[in-house]
Amino acid sequence: MSAAEPVVEGAAVDASAAATEAQRILAICNICGYCNGFCPVFDAARERPAPHRGDLSYLAHLCHACRNCLESCQYAPPHAFGVNVPRTLERLRWLDYADYVWPKPLARLMRAGMVLGSKADFALFLKLFLAMIVPLLMGFWWLPWSQLTQPALGPGGFYRIVPFPLMVCLGVATLGWALLSIGVSLVRFWRAIGGGRPAVRLTWSGLSAVLWDLASLRHLDGGGAGCTDSHSPLAPARRWLHQLLVLGFLCCFAATVVAAFWHHVLERVAPYPIGSLPVVLGLVGGLLMLASALGLWWLRRRTNPLALAPERKGGEISATLWLLAVVLSGLALLVWRGTSAMGLLLLAHLGFVYGFFLLLPASKFVHAGYRLLAVLRLRLEQRNIDADTSRRG
C-alpha cells in the first residue's frame, strides 16, 4: 500500500498492511536520515533495521506528530516513493491503543473511535454518550422536583442532590477502573517495546529525567524549529496549547484534591465561595482546557491533511467532545449554582465526569501513558549507552 493512497474515511484499517507500510517507509528513512535532527525517531529506527511489532510500537509512540518530516521530505507523496512518516506512525498509534488495551472488549470501542464513519460503530458511540448522562436521568427519577430545583446557597447544598458518600464512591470507582485498565494496557505495551531489546535499568534519575523531558516537551521542538502546525511555517503554538491543556487538567485535579482536603481536614463543606482556592483552581483549569482544546482543534483544521491519518478523526472528535462536556458542565455549574438549575447541572457535571473516567481507557487520552513510556525507554537506552561508553573509557 502506498502512503499516497487516500484511506477512505470509515474504512477499517488493516493492521498488518499498516505495519508493512511502516517498515517500508522506515527502511527508506534509515538510508536517507535527513530528518534525524527533528526528533529521536530516526536514530531509533536505524538501531532497529528489521523492526518487529514491538519496535514499530516504540517508534510510533516516540513520534509526537510534529509533521516536520513530511513537509521536509523530498519523497513525500505524490513522489513515487510516497514517504509519509507522520500519517503512517499515527495510524500505528491508533492501532496500538486498540491492540494493547485491557480488557480486550474495549478494543472495539477504541476502533469505533477510529471509524466513526461507519453506521454500526456510530450507534455504539451514541449509546456511550447517552451512558454518560445516565446519572442525570437517575436524578430525575429519584429526586423530587422541589429538591432538584433548589439553588445551592448554603453549605452542603450539593449533597442534598447527591449524598457525599455516593459522590465519592462513584468517583473513586470510576477513576480506579480507569487507572487499572490503563495501567494493565501500559504494562503490556512496555513489555512489547522491550521485546528483543537489551534490558534497561529503571532508575529514579532516569525517571525524573523523563518527567522533565515530558514537562519541557524536550523532543517536541522539531530540532529547534518548532512544529509544522499548518502547511509550512514552523511554529511553537501547538506545543504551547498542548501544555496549557495539560496544565488545565492538572489545575482541575488540584482543585479536587484541595476540596477533599478542606472537606475532611478543615471540615469546610462545599460549595465554596467564588474567590476560594478550589473554585479558582477549577475555574482557571476549566478555562485553560476550554481555550486550548479549541485552539488545538483550530490548528488541526489548518494542518496539511496529508499528515493526518483520516481514521483517527473519530477518536479525536470524541475525546474533544468528552472533554468539552466535562469542562462546560463544570463551568455552567459554577455560574448557575445559585439558581434553581443547580441540581440538574450538578447531575450533568457528575455524569460527565464519571462517564469521562469510565471511557478514559478507550480514549485518545491514553496517549500520554504510551508516550511517557516510549520516552522513558529512549532515555534509559541512552543512559545505558552512555554508561557503557564511559565504562569503556
Binding site: 538510508i31 536505524r46 530540532g223 524549529a225
Partner: protein, 540 residues
C-alpha cells in the same frame, strides 16, 4: 502588477538566494520555477550539507576549516582547473553562508541533534534540502517576491551585450499546485517513466509486495493550457541548474550509452536556456561530455530518486558486468569519492549495467539499500534471475573465491577449499597467461583485476545481487561568468544585465572532480551575489 525589474529563472538554492537578495536590495522580483509546487526546488531538494570556510569550531562544526585548506582541497579535487579569482570569491563569501541561511529562516542541524556523519568542513541542513527550499520560498514570499510555478523561461533574445527579452510559458493554473503544465518538462518525465528503452531493466522482476508502488498520477482531466508572454525585465538571473534531465542533449554529447543512465536529480533540469544562450554567443565553460555519476540501483525511478538509491557495498563484495566478468578492484577506493568512481566505471560497462554480488555473510555487512537484493540459493539460480550466462559467472566467482582464500585466507574451517586443484581447471583460471606458481607449490592465478582487501571468499549461500547503473547527479557544462556573476560572451565581454548562479555556472569553479557540499555553497554564494548585482544594475 508592473513588470518585474529582476526575473529569476529557477527556484533551487541559487534562484531563491538570488530572489531574496535582489528583493532585499529593493528590486521588484519575479521568480519562475518550471516544476509544479510539490516538486519545486530542483536538485537542491536532495542535498544535505554544504561546505563553508570557518575559523572557529561552533555548534555546527567541530573544528575549523580555513581558507587555505579549502583552497587546497578544491585545487586537488579539480586538478587546479577552476578559475582562481572566482574560487577566492567563493571561499571568502562561504563564511557568511550559514548566517545568511539562518537569517532567511533555514534551520541548520546542530551537531548534538541526532547522529550526523562526521564532518568538520560542512554544515548540515536540518531536515535536508527540501526543508531549506521550503524555508527559502516562505522567506521570499514574505518579502514580496512574486513566485510562479509551472512556468518555464526560454528563448532569451540577446542584443549586443544586453539581454533584450525572454519568453515565459506557463500552464493556465500556474498557482500553487498541480501538474507542471510545461510540455517539454513533463514530456521528458513521461518519456523517461516508460523506461522501455532502458536495456536490462525489464528483466529485473521483483517480488510484487516489495515493489515501491508509484503514487497515483495527477488527475489527467485538466489538460494544461499553455500561455506565453514575452518579458523585458531590467535584469535576469539564471539559476536553472544543469542539463541532466535532457536525454537528447546527453545523447548528443555522451553517446548512446546515456540510455542506460538514471537521473538521480530533478527531471526539470533540461538545460534549454544553456543551449539557447550558447547558440546565441555566450561563452561556455566545462565539458559537455563530463558527468557526475554515482552507482545507483538499476531499479530506481528514472528521475528524482535522490540520495537513497545509491549502492555502497562494493568493498564487501564482487562486481561483475552483464557478461559475468570482473572489471575493477572492488576494494581500492574508500574515500568519499568512491561512489563517483563506480558511477564512472558503470558508464563504461556494456549496457551500462553492473552487478554487486554478495554471499549471505557479506549481505549482512553492506550498508542498507533501497530495494531488496535479488537472492537465490545457488549461483545458477542467481544467474538465471539476472539473465546472465551462468557458466561465465561461475568461472569468475570461483577464481575470485580461490584468490580471496589464498590472499586473505580465513577459511581455516574448510582447508580443502584452499586447494585450487580440486576445482575443474576451466573454472579456476580466466586465461593461461595468469598462471604462475605460488611459493607453497600450489598453482595460483593473480587475480585480474586485483582485489584490495580486507575481503574474503563469497561462499555462504544464499547468494545475492544488486543490479547497478550510473546515476546522473549533475553535468559539468555551463556559462562562463565574471566576478560579478555576469554571463560572458565568447568575445570576453560580459552581458550587462544577465547573471548566472548555481550549477549553471559551477564549472567556472569546478570543471571536473568534486568536493562534497560544494554545490550548495556555490548556489548560495553566487545566488546571493547575482541577486545583489542584478538589483544594483536595476538601480543603475
Amino acid at each position: 502588477m508592473k513588470g518585474p525589474q529582476v526575473l529569476v529563472v529557477g527556484g533551487g538554492i541559487a534562484g531563491l538566494c538570488a530572489a531574496i537578495s535582489a528583493r532585499r536590495a529593493g528590486a521588484r522580483v519575479l521568480l519562475v520555477e518550471s516544476a509544479p509546487r510539490w516538486r519545486r526546488g530542483g536538485n537542491s531538494r536532495h542535498g544535505r550539507n554544504f561546505r563553508f570556510c570557518h575559523d572557529q569550531p561552533s555548534a555546527l562544526v567541530p573544528e575549523r576549516y580555513q581558507a587555505d585548506e579549502f583552497t587546497e582541497d578544491l585545487a586537488r579535487a579539480t586538478a587546479g582547473t577552476g578559475d582562481a579569482a572566482l574560487t577566492r570569491l567563493l571561499i571568502e563569501r562561504s563564511r557568511a553562508a550559514p548566517r545568511w541561511l539562518l537569517d532567511s529562516g533555514v534551520a541548520l542541524q546542530e551537531r548534538n541533534r541526532g547522529t550526523l556523519p562526521f564532518s568538520r568542513k560542512t554544515a548540515f541542513l536540518l531536515g535536508g534540502g527540501q526543508a531549506m527550499v521550503n524555508a527559502l520560498y516562505a522567506q521570499a514570499e514574505r518579502l514580496g517576491v512574486d513566485v510562479r510555478y509551472g512556468c518555464v523561461a526560454n528563448r532569451p533574445c540577446l542584443r549586443g551585450n544586453r539581454l533584450a527579452s525572454i519568453e515565459l510559458r506557463s500552464s493556465s493554473q500556474s498557482g500553487t499546485s498541480g501538474q507542471s503544465g510545461q510540455s517539454s518538462a513533463s514530456g521528458l518525465t513521461g518519456q523517461a517513466a516508460e523506461s522501455g528503452g532502458v536495456p536490462g531493466r525489464s528483466s529485473l522482476e521483483l517480488p510484487q509486495e516489495l515493489v515501491l508502488e508509484p503514487a497515483p498520477e495527477h488527475p489527467p482531466e485538466q489538460a494544461p493550457k499553455l500561455t506565453s508572454e514575452t518579458l523585458t525585465p531590467d535584469a535576469v538571473v539564471l539559476a536553472c541548474g544543469g542539463a541532466q534531465g535532457n536525454p537528447d542533449w546527453l545523447r548528443q554529447h555522451c553517446g548512446e550509452r546515456v540510455e542506460g543512465f538514471i537521473n538521480r536529480g530533478t527531471p526539470e533540469a533540461h538545460g534549454k536556456l544553456l543551449i539557447e544562450l550558447l547558440a546565441a554567443g555566450a561563452q561556455a565553460v566545462g565539458d559537455p561530455s563530463r558527468l557526475y555519476l554515482v552507482a545507483v540501483d538499476a531499479r530506481s525511478p528514472p528521475a528524482d530518486g535522490g540520495i537513497v538509491t545509491r549502492i555502497r557495498g562494493m568493498p564487501q563484495g564482487m562486481v561483475v558486468d552483464r557478461d559475468g566478468l570482473r572489471r575493477h578492484d572492488e576494494g581500492a577506493d574508500r574515500g568519499s569519492t568512491r561512489y563517483a568512481r563506480w558511477g564512472q566505471r558503470l558508464a563504461d560497462y556494456p549496457g551500462q549495467i553492473g552487478y554487486l554480488l554478495l554471499d549471505a555473510a557479506a549481505l549482512r555487512e553492506v550498508p542498507a539499500a533501497l530495494y531488496p537484493p535479488l537472492v537465490a540459493p545457488d549461483l545458477q539460480g542467481l544467474a538465471r534471475q539476472i539473465g546472465m550466462d551462468a557458466a561465465e559467472l561461475e568461472r569468475t566467482w570461483l577464481t575470485y573465491n580461490a584468490a580471496m582464500r589464498s590472499s586473505f585466507g580465513d577459511d581455516s574451517l574448510r582447508p580443502d577449499l584452499h586447494s585450487h586443484l580440486e576445482l575443474p581447471p576451466h573454472s579456476v583460471f580466466p586465461t593461461d597467461s595468469h598462471r604462475d606458481l605460488h611459493p607453497d607449490g600450489s598453482t595460483h592465478a593473480p587475480l585480474d583485476p586485483p582485489r584490495t582487501g580486507p575481503a574474503r571468499a563469497l561462499d555462504t549461500p544464499p547468494f545475492a545481487a544488486y543490479p547497478m547503473r550510473p546515476g546522473l547527479t549533475f553535468t559539468y557544462h555551463g556559462l562562463a561568468v565574471d566576478a560579478r556573476a555576469r554571463v560572458q560572451l565568447s568575445s570576453g565581454e560580459p552581458i550587462a544585465n544577465l547573471f548566472a548562479a548555481g550549477t549553471l555556472m559551477a564549472p567556472n569553479l569546478c570543471p571536473q572532480g568534486y568536493l562534497s557540499g560544494l554545490m550548495l555553497t556555490i548556489g548560495q554564494v553566487f545566488g546571493v551575489l547575482a541577486g545583489e548585482e542584478a538589483a544594483r544594475h536595476v538601480r543603475g
